[in-house]
């Protein structure tokens, strides 16, 4: 095919990276002063399409540099090197209530990045791009091993960093959505931690009905890490999000077996029956079900189920007895869980008990409940399956896209520094390299 037009070139560097790494997107060989749209597209495992785009004008050399130039429209604006990822939303016409979560961590998220002529807002599928590039974003670094865990009645997946170790360990607990969610553990292993993603919400069937796991389940998981030949038995952290925080805090204070070296709580609360099992916790929450509210779009707001923060000490974990450093990551627009109020109450309890020097709180305005790894698209509301009732609802998580995305980046950085300080003993001596 003959052509006299110079072909534009779009370059993504690095073209393969870990999901928490930044990339550079550069468009070259455009005519100077040309209005273009840089567009990113993901075809999810659930067969949905997610997209983001920015409006740019090429400079006098015919280049657009997403890391340095300002987007003047689209799904993000301003100078946003990673806006093409964190501002992604399902394309128009998609099923409602979607959430982008990678199930298969052996394969990367594949992002198609294209440049179109003009400032477009829709119909990208029907328009021919000027140029394309493909970027891969991985949860697993090369050499990380994935091991299925089915012994001792446990259900989980263990991720091991490359090398002989031994390494610090981490017990990774997601929230009430349940299931076996692996991607954060894969990512943590890519940072040097033996990380166990644990499925604990799937009710056990015990012949006469469904039943939740007991506290011994979590103790068995902790012991598995402790006894693993590649884990430093006295350097194991717990990381919990949402409901997983309640579990982590409860275990850390009351379990004779579980002694974490440090604890990270994301969007969590300490409000739960003291030394209660999971079943007790759910029973208590159900009592407050009348506190459920709905927003103007009929999406469920569950934050009041734990409010007001009780004064009764039997209804909340006695964090005054915690003996390890705790990092609380809290979204101030969390519509699902009263994380801010809980954090404040925890701080007061710990001050009274004299162990507040162990506590660090990072509180993020405009940020919702789902504080995910960096550059994950912000989800303000999504479908949610209530495990027990087997009903599907739309839950409001909260947050506004820009502040929530910035929070995810900062929260992850804080998490990694916190884990490294306490598990690797880096003691703030030297900053982590950032790309």
């Amino acid at each position: 095919m003959a052509g006299k037009e110079p072909c534009p070139l779009i370059v993504v560097r690095p073209s393969r990276c870990i999901v928490d790494e930044k990339f550079l997107v550069l468009v070259q060989n455009l005519p100077p002063g040309l209005a273009v749209t840089v567009h990113a597209l993901i075809h999810s495992e659930d067969d949905d399409f997610w997209e983001a785009f920015g409006h740019y004008i090429s400079d006098d050399r015919g280049c657009v540099n997403v890391a340095k130039d300002a987007s003047i429209g689209g799904s993000y604006d301003g100078v946003e090197p990673m806006g093409l990822l964190w501002s992604m939303k399902p394309i128009p016409g998609s099923r409602p209530g979607l959430r982008l979560r990678k199930k298969e961590v052996h394969t990367p998220l594949v992002v198609n990045i294209s440049v179109y002529q003009g400032h477009m807002n829709e119909r990208f599928k029907d328009t021919r791009a000027l140029a394309c590039a493909v970027a891969e974003r991985w949860y697993m670094a090369p050499g990380v091993q994935r091991v299925g865990i089915t012994t001792n009645g446990l259900k989980g997946t263990l991720f091991l960093p490359p090398g002989a170790g031994p390494f610090p360990g981490l017990l990774d607990l997601w929230g009430g959505g349940g299931g076996l969610v692996e991607y954060r553990s894969a990512l943590l292993a890519s940072h040097g931690y033996v990380s166990l993603a644990l499925d604990y919400m799937t009710p056990k069937t015990s012949g006469n009905g469904t039943q939740h796991v007991g506290n011994d389940y979590f103790e068995a998981a902790f012991r598995l890490l402790q006894e693993h030949p590649q884990v430093c038995g006295d350097r194991i952290a717990m990381l919990g999000l949402s409901f997983g925080t309640s579990v982590a805090l409860g275990m850390a204070v009351y379990s004779p077996v579980i002694k974490p070296k440090c604890l990270v709580s994301v969007s969590g609360s300490h409000v739960m029956p003291v030394n209660g099992s999971l079943s007790d916790v759910f029973a208590e929450i159900k009592k407050n079900a009348h506190n459920t509210r709905h927003d103007e779009e009929n999406r469920i707001i569950w934050r009041d189920l734990l409010l007001p923060i009780p004064d009764d000490p039997s209804k909340k974990v006695d964090v005054g007895r915690i003996q390890c450093p705790v990092l609380l990551l809290v979204g101030e627009d969390d519509q699902n869980w009263p994380a801010s109020e809980s954090a404040e109450d925890m701080r007061q309890m710990m001050e009274k008990a004299g162990n507040s020097h162990l506590l660090t709180i990072a509180s993020y305005p405009g940020t919702g409940h789902l504080i995910e790894p960096p550059y994950s698209p912000h989800i303000r509301a999504s479908n949610f399956m209530v495990a027990q009732a087997r009903t599907k609802v739309i839950v409001l998580w909260g947050g506004q896209t820009v502040p929530h995305s910035k929070a995810q980046e900062d929260a992850w950085q804080k998490t990694l520094v916190f884990l490294e300080d306490h598990l690797y003993g880096t003691k703030h001596r030297c900053p982590r390299p950032q790309n």
Binding site: M1, A2, G3, K4, P6, C7, L9, I10, R13, P14, S15, R16, C17, I18, E21, H106, T107, V110, N112, S114, R128, A129, A131, C132, A133, V134, A135, E136, W138, A141, P142, G143, Q145, R146, V147, I149, T151, N152, P162, G163, A164, G165, P166, F167, P168, S190, L224, E227, H228, P229, Q230, C232, E420, Y424, T426, R429, C430, R432, P433, N435
Partner: protein, 466 residues
Amino acid sequence: MIFRSYCILAQKTARVLVSGRHQLPTCIWLSLRRSASSMAVCPVLSVQPTRALVDEKFQIVVRNLHPKQEVTVHSLHHSEDKDYWEAFGHYTSDENGTVTVMEDASRGGTYTGTEPMGLLWSLRPIPGSRHGLRMRKRNVLSPMVVNISVYKGHMNQGFSEEAALATVVTERWYLAPGVQRVDIREQGVKGTLFIPPGPGPFPAVLDMWGGGGGLVEYRAALLASHGFVALALEYLTPNKKRTLDIETRYFETAYHILQSLPQVSSDRVAVLGLSFGASVTLTLAAYSKTAKPRCCVCISGSHVHPVNKTLFEIFQLMNQSLAKSRIDENNHVIWRDVILPIPTEPDLKVDVGKIKCPLLVVIAQDDQNWATVESTEDMEQIMERSGNRHLLTVLSYPDAGHLIEPPYTPHIRFSNFITHFNGEKVIMLWGGQTKPHADAQEDAWEKILLFLQKHLYQDIPPEAKL
């Protein structure tokens, strides 16, 4: 030295599902397992990015060492030929217990000084390996896997018997995501096509290697990862009978196949050749009536090349000249004198005065295989006389050798070679000293890409001054 290795046994609890691409090697580098109980300090090793194209740099940082601690940063690669290659540098951490390979100087090992990529370009076969090895990736759909480790103290050997303080696995790719690989077997032409992602059309490059023969894909894959449709062409096969047929028409057909692809801008096609492939490139550029490349790149090549002859006839003539080859003190074969002195007869060298497109010539001053320096001087004179000297750019690298490969490829001063002329197996001296050769590879590649982008992507008419 016997290479010892041990297997790590998966312990009682788990059923091991190994990450798809990285099968646990049956033997891995470890003997001693340190106690799993508390250690005072665990070093933290990071390599960014862990997956990269082969021409991209990485940043290696070791943190959380003791201050002023001596360590060795080590790289290990298990090649497709099942050989082990290693490189290492000796470092001392700063007062924060940090080693930053990009900024700190290595004081010993296979490279010294501040060398961000020394762990790749100074890779060499481990002690006890077979002789005359060369590292070349055959399967470009998988990455080159390099283990980066940090060891206590300044070590020079015995890495397989020591437990590393930390290890990271990195992947180095010739192929960017989205690049397609297509076998080409048409009109008698054998090659592999690489197509970048996107609607195109793209500029294209016909990519040719040298007298070693075979179908070598990695450079074409890398060019496609930079936005060019690239055709890696095989024109010398082990099957001698095939060589009888190969003459200029074969290369013109390959060029035409490339040019006619719907993904290719037909007026933006370049030809790139190394060694013998460079001579073919010059022949096409000077004489072909149908192949009119927009620009050409000749790496470690010469215009001294019989004109109007089939490959078979050329090899016969070369065979006669081999009487001028020498052997050095290590029994390595030196071919650089074979084309010297530069002939004056016109039918023995390509008339580069006829070339009408920009030409980039990349040569090494310690090339022991082919007299490229003398050839280039002669080419300059011919082009000066013909009035097309302004089309020529010469990159000449002191102390570099014949095999100017993509950046960070380990330097090979000599290697096993089967001569196509007579099927003899020799050890060929290529030349070059490791550090200057590595610098040359890095600089040359950057300039080759800029040259191709300038002439193929930007709208500059070919006759314009470079």
